[in-house]
Symmetry: C2
Subunit: 404 residues, 2 copies
C-alpha cells in the first residue's frame, strides 16, 4: 500500500464547489465553447476609475511592506466609510485590514474558538466557511434553512436545540451568500438575544451589505455592536462592493480590545496585506454615490431577469432572492453536481454552455442540496438571458438522458 505522505487534516479540507469544476470549463473553452460563468461571484461590473488611476499614476518604489494593521490611508478611508454608514463610534483601532474577506473569516474562527469548539451556521452557507473551520479545528454546526420561506431563520427554539457547552458563536452571512436572503430586524434581535443569554459571539459577514433590493433596509451587526462590544465581530470585504475581487482586501471589525490585540499579533506574523491593492482601495472615499446606485439597480434588474426566466422552466424551483447576487435553485435532476459537470463536458447550445456551482457543497448535512445549484448573476443581462435559455435546453436533454 502506498503511504499517503501528508497530514490527516489536509485530507479533510473540502474542495470548493465554486471552483472545483474549473478544469472542465477550461477544457470546454479549449474546444471553442463559450462558457458563461455563473458559478463564482466575480462581477463583470467595472472597478471605479479613481481606483485604477492609482495604478496608472504609480510612483512609489520600492514596493515595500505595508503596516500590519493596514496601510494608514486605507484605514482612514474605511473609518470614513463606516462613519458615513452611521456608525461613527468605530475608530481605526477597531479595524484590522485582512488579505481578502477570507483571512478575516479565518482570523475570527481562530481568535474566538479553541480546538473542537462549535460555531452555529445556517445552511446552505458560504462553502469556504467549512474550509476555514477545518483549518482552524472548529466544528461548524449546521442549522438548515429552506427555500419555501426564502431561507430565513428557523424559530429560536430550533436554533436553541443546537447549542452545546462547546458552542462559541453564531456565524451569519447577511445578505446571504448563497441564498440572497436579507435577514430582518426580528431575526437579528433573535440572534442577539441568544448571544446575550448564552454568552456567544456573533460573527456577521456583510460583504454584500449594499446589495439589497425592493427597498429593503440592511440590518448590520454594527447596530448591535455598541451593546455587545466583546461579542460582535464584523467581517467585511471590498471585493464585491467595488468589484475588487482580485485585490484581496477585507476587514475584521470589533470593539473587543483583547481580540483586536491578538488579531494584530497574528497580522504582524504575516507582515502585511498588499501595498498596491490597499493604496488602490484607499480611494473608496472618492467613489461617486452614483456608482452604487447604478450597480445596485443593475443587479436588481438581473435578479428580476434570472428569477422570472428560471421560474418559467418546468421543474425548477426558486424563491425571489432579496439581496447579494446569488440564489439557490432546485433543479429537476438527481445529482446537480453531475449535471453541472455534464454541462461543461457534454453539452453546448449554439457553441455556448454555462458553469454553475453545485449546491451540496454549501450544506454540511449529508444529502442536502444534491438537486440544487448556486447561481451568481454576475454577467450582463443579455448573457444572463442566454444562460437561462441554455439551462432550459440543457435540462430538456439531460432529463432524456438521465430521467428522474
Amino acid at each position: 500500500m502506498k503511504k499517503v505522505f501528508v497530514s490527516d487534516r489536509l485530507l479533510e479540507i473540502p474542495d470548493s464547489p465554486i471552483r472545483k469544476l474549473a478544469p472542465f470549463a477550461t477544457a470546454a473553452q479549449k474546444q471553442g465553447i463559450t462558457v458563461l460563468k455563473l458559478n463564482i461571484g466575480d462581477p463583470d461590473i467595472k472597478t471605479p476609475q479613481v481606483m485604477l488611476d492609482q495604478l496608472t499614476h504609480w510612483v512609489k518604489n520600492p514596493i515595500s511592506y505595508s503596516a500590519s494593521q493596514g496601510q494608514p490611508e486605507f484605514l482612514k478611508a474605511l473609518e470614513q466609510y463606516y462613519h458615513q454608514l452611521g456608525f461613527s463610534y468605530l475608530k481605526q483601532n477597531n479595524i484590522q485590514i485582512t488579505t481578502g474577506g477570507s483571512e478575516a473569516i479565518s482570523l475570527a474562527l481562530f481568535s474566538i474558538c479553541n480546538p473542537d469548539d462549535e460555531v452555529l451556521v445556517f445552511e446552505p452557507f458560504y462553502a469556504n466557511y467549512q474550509s476555514f473551520s477545518v483549518q482552524n479545528h472548529v466544528h461548524l454546526v449546521p442549522i438548515t434553512t429552506f427555500g419555501h420561506n426564502g431561507f430565513h431563520l428557523p424559530p429560536k427554539k430550533e436554533i436553541l436545540s443546537h447549542l452545546t457547552s462547546r458552542t462559541k458563536a453564531i456565524l451569519l452571512c447577511n445578505p446571504n451568500n448563497p441564498t440572497g436572503t436579507v435577514f430582518t430586524k426580528t431575526e437579528m434581535d433573535t440572534i442577539f438575544s441568544l448571544a446575550k443569554e448564552f454568552n456567544l459571539f456573533v460573527i456577521s459577514d456583510e460583504v454584500y451589505r449594499e446589495f439589497v433590493y425592493d427597498g429593503r433596509k440592511h440590518i448590520s451587526i454594527l447596530e448591535y455592536m455598541p451593546k455587545f462590544p466583546r461579542q460582535s465581530i464584523l467581517l467585511d470585504s471590498l471585493s464585491k462592493r467595488y468589484s475588487l475581487c482580485g485585490a484581496r482586501l477585507g476587514t475584521l471589525v470589533s470593539l473587543n480590545p483583547d481580540l483586536m490585540t491578538g488579531v494584530l499579533r497574528i497580522a504582524r506574523g504575516r507582515l502585511s496585506s498588499g501595498l498596491v491593492d490597499q493604496l488602490m482601495a484607499s480611494k473608496l472615499t472618492e467613489v461617486n454615490e452614483n456608482y452604487f446606485t447604478a450597480i445596485i439597480n443593475e443587479y436588481q434588474t438581473r435578479r428580476d431577469v434570472i428569477f422570472s426566466g428560471l421560474s418559467q422552466i418546468p421543474g425548477v424551483y426558486l424563491t425571489n432572492p432579496e439581496g447579494a447576487f446569488y440564489l439557490v435553485v432546485r433543479l429537476p435532476v438527481h445529482d446537480a453536481e453531475h449535471f453541472c459537470k455534464w454541462l461543461l463536458t457534454d453539452f453546448s447550445y449554439q457553441d455556448t454552455t454555462v458553469m454553475l456551482a453545485p449546491a451540496a457543497g454549501f450544506y454540511l448535512t449529508p444529502d442536502l442540496g444534491k438537486n440544487e445549484v448556486r447561481i451568481a448573476y454576475v454577467i450582463n443581462q443579455d448573457d444572463l438571458k442566454k444562460a437561462i435559455l441554455i439551462i432550459s435546453q440543457a435540462l430538456l436533454k439531460y432529463q432524456q438522458l438521465f430521467p428522474l
Copy 2:
C-alpha cells in the same frame, strides 16, 4: 475578575520581535527624530522598472479574481525562473502561488503535521515560524546554533537527540534569516540522510537564495528534491529577490502530488492571491541579470561595512555573515529588548536613532538571545555607517545608565 473574551490559543500567539517596537519608532518620528530602520528586512533597493511598468500601463478592468493556483502568466514565469536555475524537472503543477512566503510557511505546516506534531528548527530562526506553528498547532523543537561557528549546524548526533515519534519535519532557512548563515553541501547531506532514515519532510525556506557572498554557492533543496520527491518542500518568496515585500507573493514547491492537491484545495478556499501583484511580478523573466549582480554586490559591500564597523565597538561580538542581509550581534547589555526600546524612547544622536530587532524572539529556548539583536542591512552605506556610529554612542551612554 474580568473575563478575557477570546480563545486561549490567541493568547499564545507571540508578538513579532521585528514589529512590536514599531509604535515607539512612530512616536520618536513624531518628535522629529530620524529612525534608521535596521529591524525589518524591507529593502531600500528599487523594484525592477519593468514590473512597475505593469502598473503604469494597467488596462484590465475589473480587478477580478486570479486563479487559485496562481495567475497563469506568473506561474509560467516562475517555471522559467526555476528552469534557469537548473531545475528543469519542475513543472507548473509543482508550484502553488501563495500570498507572501508567509502563507507558504503556514500551508506547509498544516499540510504535513497533525496537531501536536513536531518540527525541528535551528534557533535562532525566523521568528514568525513560531506564530504559524501556534496557528497550526505544531510544536517547533529548537536546536540551538551558536555565533562562535557562524551559526552552522551542530553534529548529526545532536540533531538526532531531538527526534521523537512525533517529529514530522526539519525546517531550514537557507541562506538563514536571522543569522546570514549559508548551509554547506555537507550540512544539506546530513539533513537529507536524517530525512531518509526517519521518513521526515525537509522544508527549505530559500527566500534569500541569490544573496550569498564571497563566492559561495547556494545549495538548494531543489538539488535533493528529485531523490526525495514526497519529502521535500521548497518555500520561496519574491519579496527580497525583487524588492517586492509589499506585493505579498510567495510559492510552495513540491513534487508530492497528494500535498499539491491538498494545498490547492486550501488555496481554492481562500480564492486567490492578488491579481495586480501577480501580473507585476510575472515580468520577472524580463529583469536584467545586471539587476541581481548590482544588488548582490551592494549587499555584500554593506555586509562588509556593518561587519567591520560593529567589530570595532568594544564588547560587541559577531561573526561575518555569509548570505541573506541579516546578522545576529551580541551586545554588552543585559537585556537587548530594553536597549532597543530605549534607543527609540530615550536616545538620539544628531537627532537620529536606530531601530533594531531584539533577538530573544528568534529563539524558543528561554533566556537565549537576551543580549543579542538582529540587524537587517537594508539601508544605504552612508546611513549604515551613521547607524554604526549611533549604536556605538548609544552603548557608551546605555552602559553608564545600566552597567553590566
